[in-house]
Assembly symmetry: C2
Homo-oligomer: 243 residues x 2
Amino acid sequence: MKPQETERAAGSLHQRIVADLESRILSGQWPPGHRIPFEVELSAAYGCSRMTVNKALGRLVDAGLIERRRKAGSFVARPRSQAAVLDIHDIRAEVTARGAAYRFEIVARARRAATPADRLRIDVPAGAPLIALRTLHYADDRPFCSEDRLISLAAVPEAGAEPFDALPPGAWLVARVPWTQAEHSIAARAATKEQAARLDIAPGAPCLVVERRTWRAGEPVTGVELAYPGALHRLVARFAPTG
Amino acid sequence: MKPQETERAAGSLHQRIVADLESRILSGQWPPGHRIPFEVELSAAYGCSRMTVNKALGRLVDAGLIERRRKAGSFVARPRSQAAVLDIHDIRAEVTARGAAYRFEIVARARRAATPADRLRIDVPAGAPLIALRTLHYADDRPFCSEDRLISLAAVPEAGAEPFDALPPGAWLVARVPWTQAEHSIAARAATKEQAARLDIAPGAPCLVVERRTWRAGEPVTGVELAYPGALHRLVARFAPTG
DNA sequence: CGCCCGCATATGTATAGTCATGAATCGGCA
DNA sequence: TGCCGATTCATGACTATACATATGCGGGCG
């Protein structure tokens, strides 16, 4: 069977098979728990080798759409928890995307040993050396986001000497430190008096607060709290097909 | 080369290769833009066939860790926007996970043709038949979340006759309608007077508002707004290695 | 000097076949 | 009848091979 004979529609053959099976599952034609045809049956149906079907089914497993059990066959997975993929953009990109001019300002900077309060935000050992930064991000000279960040000097020693005058701390870190793990927590909170003053909103006004803790190969790198005025900002996520 | 000779550690050979390359990329040993060895070199290094390496590299492409160009080679991708995977749990699961008793109540229900206001929340044509539901979710008899939902009867005709007495509308829909696309928007908003009354919080208190719009094969299915008292709830996301 | 063609090369896709693994099933034995 | 072991079978993993495709690069020609 030459590949050319079947390669219309959606690129390669196994992609076509993936798309086809996917549509049958997502359309409900094959409900959760349904046993899909065996590899040999599919390879006969599509007129290709078993490896090609196998590759397609492997992708569907990765996508969480099917589960496979030896001897028993392949089954449409029952969706468990829905998942959404949240794009965490660079703050500069967010601001410029809405057509505003971006500017940031480091309003406070300190070097200190980790206090118990710090250790709630970054899981370094007590007394570990940290850089604490408070940054204000502006969109067209209006406060857009207040950032409170701790950086572990053990993980990023060069942060101690960095003036952060060209890049804000977040972008600087992303460009420098590849990270393997991050944990995000999103909440709505009333602005404290200080936050309100910094963000130029009323005290008690709702803020979207994003907390992020980041590790690199198990070692804590940074912990940050971003507070956005609720009226200004929303996070957008798209669906992830994970079942 | 027999598969048995190398299959210790992490399962299959191509999984081991994936994990190995992944760690080199995430550790920074291979920075973004770095050209990784050619398939033939890797297959020689791991003592396996090119197909096995190809499979592993294919996975890394899917994961967004590398980019591949014909003739040129494979390169470590430069991270663009960070991505976080947000698990959207069933509300019942959320409530019971914190050890509380779950209960829900449909407080309003209407069948109507889509109004312009409705069409901001679900992109059906004007006048399309809808079911509008307002649901209150309780944790241990305390209001946990207020849900405002529109369901397109064109997409889910059986929703018209469904009493929603056993399952809340969200869970009922998930069990019934497989969906292909969803869009989430997360914001912090002050509770309106009505929301505050329903949620038993002070008017103006911050709420975490999640809006979700769902399509099935391009057809709008449902639009929902979930309002959580800010003090009660936070969304947690984990990092996704997607660059 | 510059442009274009063609070759070398690395990836992309697909095939056929082999061996391993684990689970369902059937048959035999108690 | 009930249980246990052997068989069978579908998936899982991998190899060797083949051909398609695109592209970077260098040589040749205008």
